[in-house]
C-alpha cells in the first residue's frame, strides 16, 4: 500500500521553522553586537550602573555595595576571547596575573574567590537565581528573554 507523502512534507517544514526560530533566538547577531561587551545581571536584579573603576575593583575582589546590595562578580569563561577582552578593557591585566592577583587577594583577605563559569546555561541560571550577581557577556547573548538584564555597556565605551 502506497503511503501518503503529505505528513512527511509537513514534518520537514516544521523542523525548518524550529531551526529558524532557534537561529533567531541564539545565533542571530549583527556584526556590531558581536563586538559589544556588556555587563549583565538577572532580569529581576536592580543593580545600578557601575563606573569602569567600580567594575575593575569588583572583579579584582574588592567588595562593592550598591543600594545596600553587595554585588557578586561571576567570571565568564564560556568564551575565551570575551574573557581576554574583558581583562584588557576593564581589568588591565593578563589572565595569569589576574588569577594570581585573585588568589593573593583571597589569601590576604579571606574573601571567597569569584565563581567561574565555563557553561553558559549554568552562568545564566546563576545570574537569574542570585539577584546580586553580575557578569560580562557579548551583547548578542544577553537577551531579555533569557531572563537577563543588561546593566550597562562595557565596550565600546559610551559617554556617561
Amino acid at each position: 500500500m502506497e503511503r501518503n507523502p503529505a505528513p512527511n512534507i509537513r514534518r520537514i517544514l516544521t523542523s525548518l521553522c524550529c531551526i529558524a526560530c532557534l537561529w533567531l533566538t541564539f545565533g542571530y547577531a549583527s556584526a556590531a553586537e558581536a563586538q559589544r561587551m556588556v555587563l549583565v545581571a538577572g532580569a529581576t536584579s536592580y543593580i545600578p550602573s557601575l563606573t569602569p573603576a567600580e567594575v575593575r575593583k569588583l572583579f579584582l575582589g574588592i567588595v562593592i555595595v550598591k543600594d545596600s546590595l553587595r554585588i557578586e562578580p561571576l567570571i565568564n569563561l564560556t568564551d575565551h576571547r570575551l574573557h581576554q577582552m574583558f581583562l584588557q578593557k576593564m581589568v588591565f591585566m593578563s589572565s595569569y596575573n589576574y588569577e594570581h592577583h585573585l588568589v593573593t587577594h583571597t589569601r590576604q583577605t579571606g574573601d571567597p574567590l569569584p565563581q567561574e563559569y565555563t557553561d553558559p546555561w549554568q552562568l545564566i541560571s546563576a545570574l537569574r537565581s542570585r539577584p546580586g550577581s553580575i557578569t560580562y557577556m557579548w551583547a548578542k547573548d544577553a537577551q531579555p528573554r533569557m531572563g537577563l538584564r543588561i546593566v550597562q555597556e562595557l565596550w565600546p565605551s559610551q559617554p556617561e
Binding site: 584588557q88 578593557k89 588591565f92
Partner: protein
Amino acid sequence: MSGVVIIHMILIPLLFAGVLYIVKQGYQSLFINQARAGSHLLAVLAGQDPRPAQLQTLFEEVLLSGSMVALAALDTSHKVIASAGQPGIQENFQEDFFFGEHGDAVYHVSVPIYGDNGTLLGTLRLGYDETPTQEQIASTEARGIYLGIGYISLTLFLVILGNKTLNLMHKRLVTQAHELEHQALHDTLTGLPNRALLQDRLQQAILGSQREHTPFALFLMDLDRFKEVNDTLGHQAGDAILEQTAARLCEVIRESDTVARLGGDEFSVVLPKVDADDAVLIAEKLLKALHEPFVVDARPLPLGASIGIALFPDHGEDASTLLRRADVAMYAAKQGGGGLTIYDTDLDKHSVDRLTLTTELKQGLDRGEIEVFYQPKIDLHSGEICGVEALARWRHPQRGLVLPAEFIPLAERAGIINALTLRIIEIGTQHCKELSDKKECVNIAINLSPLSLLDAKFADKVENILHHHAFSPCTLILEVTESTIMADTPQTQETFARLAAMGIRISIDDFGTGYSSLMRLKKLPVSEVKIDKSFVIDMLHDDNDAAIVRATIDLAHNLGLKVVAEGVETQGHLDALHAFGCDMAQGYHIEHPLPPLEIRHLLATKKRIVATKEESEGKPLFSGL
C-alpha cells in the same frame, strides 16, 4: 632496557617540550600584562591633560622607551588629535587580545580616555612591539631544541655504547663461565680432563657399554721415578714432564678415548669398545711412548710408566670399582718394576696387604723393628775390607724379615722415608762407633733419599746424631743417586754443602744409569762413584759394558774420585775390575749383607781376600774363612 630508552628518548623530550611551552606562556603573559597595565596608565595620564600638544609630548616620551611602535589619540568623533611612531596605526586598526594575533608583530590596544569627571574624551590606540618577546621566546625555544637534540643524541650514544658494553660484558661473562667450567673439569697444567670429568666420561662409557653390550677398558698409570725427579729437579721440571706425558698419551689414543690427569703423575685412560687383547696392545703403545726419555732443559730423563688395566664388565660394573681395581693393578705393575698389569682378584689381596703393611711400617719404625745389615766393600789393591754399606731390614713380627724393595716404596708413599733414613743413620753410626771403640775403624755408607736433601734441617739432624754418638763424620759416606746429585735446587746445594763442610763424604750411587753433567760433577763435593751393577754384571760378556766400566773408572780417577763397583758376583768380575784399576768392590761374590753381630765378627778377624777363583766355587769369598 626498552623502558629506559622510552623514558630517555620520548618522555624526557616531552618534558622538555612542556617546560618550553610553560616558559613561552610566561613570556607572553608578562608581555600582555605589561601592555594592558601600561595602556591603562597611559590612558589615565592622557585623561589628566588631554590637550593635543601635551598628548603629543607624552607620546614622544613614551615612544623613546622602546616598548611601543606607535601611539595615537582619537577624539570621540574618531579624529586623530595626536600621534607618534609608525604612521597609519589608526587606519585598519584591529585590536589584539592574544599575543601574536594578526601576525603583524605589534600588539594593538585600544583604551578609552576618561576625563576627571568620568566623561569619555576619546580613545588611545597603542601599538606594542612584540618582537623582543618573540625573540626571547624563539631564543628559549632554540636553546630548548638544541638541548633536546643534544640530550637525545647523548642518550642514543649512551644507549648504543651501553648496548655494546652490555654485549661485551655478556660475552665476557659467557667466556668466563666457559673458562670456569673448563677449569672445573680440566687439569690446568696439561689441559686434560680432571678426575671429575673422568668420572662423568667413565659413567657415559658404562652406560654406552651396557646399551651396546660391548666391553671397555680403564687404564690407570703413573710415571716411574717421577717423584724422584720432581723432588730433585724441582716442580718446574716435573711440570714439564707431565706436559710431555699428556702430549704423548694424546698422540697414541683415539679421538673417542679419554685421557685424564688424576693428580700428581697419575693419569687415566678410558677406552670404549676395547677388549682385553686390544687393551694390552694399546697399553704397550703407551708404555713405548713413555719409555722415550723426557727432555727437560736439554737434559734427557728416562722415566717409564706403570699401567694398571681394569675391564668393564669383567672387573667391575661401576666407576668406583673399576677405578679402585685399576689402581690395584697399577700398583702391582709398579711392584713388578713397571710395565702393565691387568687386574686380577689375587691382586686385591696384595692391595689390602699394602695398606696394612704401610700402617705396620709406621708402627714398626716407632717400635724399633727396623734393623741394619751391612754388606762389606773391599779394597781391590789390598784385598782388605775397607767399609760397609748399611742396608735396612724390617723385622716384621709376623712376616719375618722384610726386604727394602718391599717397604721403602711404602715409606716414600707414606711420607716417612726421612724418618727412616735418619733411623738408619743413627743405628749405623751407633754400630760403627762400637766397632771403632774396639779399634775396628770402618767406613759406613748409607743410602739417602732425595727427599732428605730437601729437608732444610736434615744436615742439623745428621750432625746431632754424629755428635750424640761421638762419631767421626769422615767415616760416614752418604750415597745418593745420580739424578739426585745432579739436581740444582738451592736447598739440595745447601744440604750438600753443609754435609761436606761437616766432613761427610758423598758417593754417587748407581752411576751410569742417569745423565750426569761432568761440569756439575766437578763442582760437587763428591768423593766417590759407585758403578751400577747392571754394567758390572754384564761386562764380561758385553764389550760395551766393559768399555763403560773402564771409562767410568778412568773418568772418576781423572776427577780425583774413588770408584766402587757394585754387583760383583763372580771372581771374573773381581779380576776384571782389578785389571781396570777399580778401587773398591762390593757384591755377593765378596759377601752378602750381614747382621751387626756377623759383620762385627768378620771385621774382628780382619780377613783378607786370598781365595782364588777356583777356591771360591761361587760362594762368597769370606764365607769359607
